[in-house]
Amino acid sequence: MQNQAIQVNGLQKSYEKIHVLKGVDFEVKKGSIFALLGSNGAGKTTIVKILTTLLKQDGGTAAVNGFDVASKPGDVRQSISLTGQFAAVDEILTGRENLIMIAKLRHLKNPRPVADDLLNRFGLTDAADRRVSTYSGGMRRRLDIAMSLVGKPQVIFLDELTTGLDPEARVEVWKTVKELANNGTTVFLTTQYLEEAEQLADRIAILHEGKIIANGTLAELKKLFPPAKVEYIEKQPSLEEIFLAIIGKKEEK
């Protein structure tokens, strides 16, 4: 068994004349939570789309669960699920119907118990038979993630999953993601909230101007923080400061 859930080498992608990804490399260990951090428009979603077979890369290779995304997209899709930037739930169906629909599309034998189990796990049992249009933002996201877990995919992609949520709902969703990784699922998440990466991720990579400019555990990234500053500041640097410092350094060159 290989140990990497995701392997990306020299990934390139351009839209028209804009060179979004200029050779991206990283690996994600099985069963870990990996956060890809970057400003708006840095290309995080482009990476997610390539890894989930929605988009073809221009150069480089990417493999998910050991399958090359370009040559074996069918096998990749068997192994993954995607929770995109916008809650990909059906507003007119009920929560239960949404889950049953996905279970049927994954060709599971017993869609109903699968749905009931997930509703229970995500605290949506009481709302199960209400239309999703009546759900709060946090509930919608929880259902969204629950739908991604139908059929137990090995790798799940969460693209900007808390964008647009209020702080309370955000904490609620974080709790859910932590539980996922405890069950052995590999989680790949993108975020522009630095606190989110700090809270959730085992490893954090920073995508800036088309390349990964830092990749490590939070402790490792903290070492990159210019030591001179530490003398003046008593508290530990937050990831936000690290992020800005690293980007600043790159741009000076």
Partner: protein, 255 residues
């Protein structure tokens, strides 16, 4: 890849079930696609019909084919709308990252259009029967009518798919249906084309709705259909093929 092909029909069936739920849970859709054509039929038969000279004593018989086409034209606007909303909400991205056939979500919408329009056509025919519609058509003629209507629905549905996939706003997604909704008025659907001024008449007699309406009318009244049916079929199949090719091209580009 093999498994996605094997499950194509069951996947499409799930998609069909999904959008049929959408239709039956939205009063708005039901009213627009069945009640509006029925109201038009009532208006034309009981208010305007007395003043229209068609050369038949049963105006409901004369009117029904045109009303059915209008119902279908307003029905497909919703196909475009549903497709647009799916693209907006990201649920298509979820479907496309799942191990199902890429085109299953799209075919689900097309099938939904066929089924829902068939239902509204049936409802309208039932109401027409109550209003005095009578037909001497045999089983074969009815099958021919069903076939023409199905082809007409498919042709317009693929146009709706293009609109739904390329629209940038909800209004845009439905707007293409308005010109199509107007075509029956400038055709033989409500009044004989002989009563129109020559320029309008030339347009009316050479546009698809007239040949389709005339073919259906002849089939339902047990008259010989002549060339109309072939012209009608040629229009439907032609529009369908061209729209299908363009729709698939847009779909591949957008996905």
């Amino acid at each position: 890849m093999e498994s996605t092909k094997r499950h194509f029909f069951s996947d499409m069936n799930v998609m069909l079930g999904r959008s049929m739920h959408h239709i039956f849970r939205s009063m708005d859709t039901i009213i627009t696609v069945t009640i509006t054509p029925i109201a038009m039929m009532l208006l034309f038969v009981y208010v305007l019909g007395g003043a229209i000279q068609t050369g038949t004593d049963n105006y409901v018989n004369y009117l029904l084919p045109g009303i059915l086409l209008m119902a279908i034209a307003s029905g497909i606007a919703y196909t475009s709308y549903r497709l647009f909303m799916d693209m907006q909400r990201g649920i298509f991205e979820r479907f496309h990252s799942m191990p199902i056939a890429r085109s299953a979500p799209l075919w689900g919408h097309v099938l939904t259009s066929l089924v829902s329009n068939a239902i509204s056509v049936l409802v309208i025919i039932l109401v027409a029967l109550i209003m005095g519609f009578r037909s001497s058509a045999g089983v074969l003629s009815w099958l021919a009518v069903a076939g023409i209507l199905a082809l007409f629905t498919l042709a317009l549905t693929w146009i709706a798919v293009i609109a739904g996939l390329s629209a940038t706003s909800v209004d845009g997604a439905g707007a293409f249906a308005y010109p199509i909704l107007f075509l029956p008025f400038i055709s033989s659907a409500f009044v004989p084309t002989e009563s129109m001024p020559s320029g309008v008449r030339a347009f009316a007699e050479n546009q698809p709705v007239t040949s389709i309406v005339d073919a259906i009318r002849a089939l339902l009244s047990g008259q010989p259909v002549g060339n109309d049916i072939w012209v009608a079929l040629a229009w439907c199949v032609g529009i369908m093929l061209v729209a299908y090719i363009f729709a698939m091209r847009v779909y591949k580009k957008r996905m």
